[in-house]
């Protein structure tokens, strides 16, 4: 990695996330300051219920921040209109696409939606982008299959291809490796890494795969109760940040192997 100046794609300034209704605010995490640059693969790590999904929803503009700012390409996310935002941020969610009767090609083509005309006609450029993202994810041979014919791992790749076809500088994925076996977990994360290198996109994903994330990511956002630590895996290893991720006792972080072990 060279150290020339990189463009900031995503930045938060004193961001508070949580839920609010008319009477009360429930703050999940306060004062989050992170920055993601182009071409970076960033993992959001934390135990269940710590607020990873809320954080990602706030970053993608689906949910409003309680306080502070989310900047996408140095512009505040609330000020970006929804169609423009669709050309800046694409999502891969945990909920599966509801209509499995779509073919892989059709599903990936829906990523071009923000760019097509009123009836959704695909231009030559759209077709080229779809083809490219199918190639990048390595699923060209699947394109005529229907989604109900796919395995979980294949479907995840298709969803990633759809997000890539949306051609946004930032891709956010919520737990892209759940339901997958170890091989496919590694495969998907490696694929994300490859995509950041090849397309210079910034990719942010929430995951429980700490061991894999440490090996692959450029940056890790570690979410703990009301505290967020950010850094490269190496920095976090040195500061011992991983040892407090889980409650004490059952599992411990083994610095030597940079992985978690069950306490004997």
């Amino acid at each position: 990695m060279n150290h020339t100046e990189k463009h900031s794609i995503l930045k938060t300034i004193d961001l508070d996330i949580g839920y609010s209704n008319k009477t009360e605010k429930t703050i999940i995490t306060e004062a989050i300051n992170i920055e993601v640059n182009e071409g970076e693969l960033v993992a959001v790590i934390g135990v269940n219920g710590v607020g990873k999904s809320t954080f990602l929803r706030t970053l993608s503009g689906v949910q409003d921040a309680l306080k502070g700012k989310v900047l996408v390409k140095n512009e505040q996310i609330q000020d970006i209109d929804s169609l423009e935002l669709a050309s800046l941020v694409s999502l891969v969610l945990t909920e599966q696409p509801i209509s499995k009767n779509l073919s892989v090609f059709e599903l990936v083509a829906l990523g071009r939606q923000p760019y097509t005309n009123w009836i959704g006609r695909l231009s030559k450029n759209d077709l080229r982008q779809i083809k490219k993202s199918l190639q990048n994810v390595g699923i060209e041979d699947l394109q005529h299959k229907k989604c109900y014919e796919l395995s979980d791992g294949q479907l995840q790749k298709v969803l990633i291809a759809r997000a890539i076809a949306q051609n946004t500088p930032l891709v956010i994925l919520d737990e892209p490796t759940t339901h997958l076996d170890l091989y496919h977990k590694a495969y998907v994360l490696k694929l994300l890494k490859k995509l950041t290198r090849k397309t210079n996109k910034a990719i942010v994903f929430a995951s429980h795969e700490i061991n894999l994330a440490i090996q692959l990511c450029d940056k890790i956002i570690l979410m703990q109760n009301n505290k967020v630590t950010t850094g490269s895996p190496k920095e976090l290893l040195e500061s011992g940040a991983f040892s407090t991720v889980f409650p004490e006792g059952l599992i411990v972080f083994d610095k030597a192997s940079a992985s978690f072990k069950i306490n004997p």
Binding site: S60, V62, S82, L83, E84, L85, A86, S87, V89, S90, L91, L93, E95, P97, I98, S99, N101, L102, S103, F105, E106, L107, L110, G111, Q113, P114, T116, W118, I119, G120, R121, L122, L127, Q166
Partner: protein, 343 residues
């Protein structure tokens, strides 16, 4: 695009099918009219018998057009509802529109006797039924729309629509319980549905509503496709869910509401035609589904109307029964044959 070219042929076949069925529908009826004179009447040429011209132009032609409008309109509302709610069981009735219409008509027909004499005379003209059923569906529509503006969850709207349907059905039952047999029978006759009672003026009004509804549906095609991915994805693609939900509900209400007002509560078509089309043309892209469902709905309704006429017979069977009698076995047969439910 390659994928849509594949579907041009089935669409063309459907289109010519509708035209053929339209002619067939007009040529058949209780009076035997030679093909030559049927054509002559339609194109305003010399007809052998003036009564034949009258039958064709004033009765059969508006009836065929009504069949096309009701079939296509109900089918499209069914498709819109199924996609909006991501529920294969949805149809135009899920918003409670036909139940609202039924309630309006029930109050007019049966309420007249309950509330007493002087009222009854004015209330029982045909237009009052049309107005009552429009008002009924409009009231339910407003209630559902208010709910949809307040609610984030689309599924909650589905439940609210069904609740309204069951509420109104309950009121209709209570009214029926207290009505004399004659009124009850009149209500039952209305609920059979009818395509043949419309004058050209009424067909014109119905066509206007239909046109606006179809335009709104077509304007949503692109966003309907994103809804196939689920609402979250649709949002992330820059689609405003609330706005589209509102447009879809308005389109459905215009179509289903006006059709129920003029032709009665015709069941089944809205639910079944989208499934029939998905079985015949296995596609989920709405730029193909929407025209296919419009044509399919029109074709099915023309066939049902031909069957209801029972060519050469004096009787006309209730259209509402025929749609299910013909349609249900076809849907069952298709599902069993393909062994796969495509949605």
């Amino acid at each position: 695009m390659l994928q849509s070219q594949k579907y041009v042929l089935p669409l063309l076949l459907l289109f010519f099918g509708v035209i053929f069925l339209g002619f067939l529908n007009i040529s058949l009826g209780s009076v035997n009219i030679p093909f030559k004179d049927v054509f002559a009447s339609i194109f305003n040429l010399e007809v052998s018998k003036e009564t034949w011209r009258y039958i064709i132009v004033e009765y059969r032609l508006p009836k065929a057009i009504t069949a096309i409008i009701t079939g296509s309109g109900l089918a499209i509302s069914g498709l819109l509802m199924q996609t909006l709610f991501r529920n294969p069981l949805a149809g135009p009735y899920v918003l409670g529109l036909s139940s609202g219409a039924s309630l309006g008509v029930a109050i007019v027909i049966m309420g007249a006797s309950v509330f007493g004499g002087a009222f009854a005379g004015i209330l029982l003209s045909k237009w009052s039924l049309v107005i009552a059923s429009s008002l009924g569906s409009l009231l339910v529509l407003i209630a559902v729309m208010l709910a949809s503006l307040r609610l984030r969850d689309t599924m909650a709207i589905l439940i609210i629509g069904l609740m309204f349907a069951s509420l109104t059905a309950a009121v209709v039952s209570v009214l029926s319980y207290f009505s004399p047999a004659a009124q009850l029978q009149q209500y039952v006759f209305w609920s059979f549905g009818s395509l043949g009672d419309l004058s050209w003026n009424e067909v014109g009004i119905l066509a206007m509503f239909w046109f606006v509804g179809i335009i709104l549906a077509v304007s949503c095609i692109k966003n309907l496709n994103t809804l196939l991915l689920g609402e979250q994805y649709a949002k992330s693609l820059g689609v405003s869910i609330q706005k589209n939900r509102l447009i879809i509900i308005i389109a459905t209400s215009l179509l289903a509401g006006s059709i129920t007002a003029f032709a009665g509560p015709i069941a089944f078509v809205g639910l079944a035609v989208p499934h029939l089309i998905r079985q015949i043309i296995p596609v989920n892209n709405h730029s193909i589904l929407v025209p296919a469902v419009i044509l399919g709905g029109a074709a099915l309704m023309l066939i049902c109307d031909i069957a209801a006429q029972m060519p050469g017979q004096e009787y006309t069977l209730p259209i509402n029964a025929i749609t299910s009698l013909i349609g249900a076995p076809v849907v069952i047969w298709l599902l069993v044959r393909k062994r796969k439910f495509l949605f």
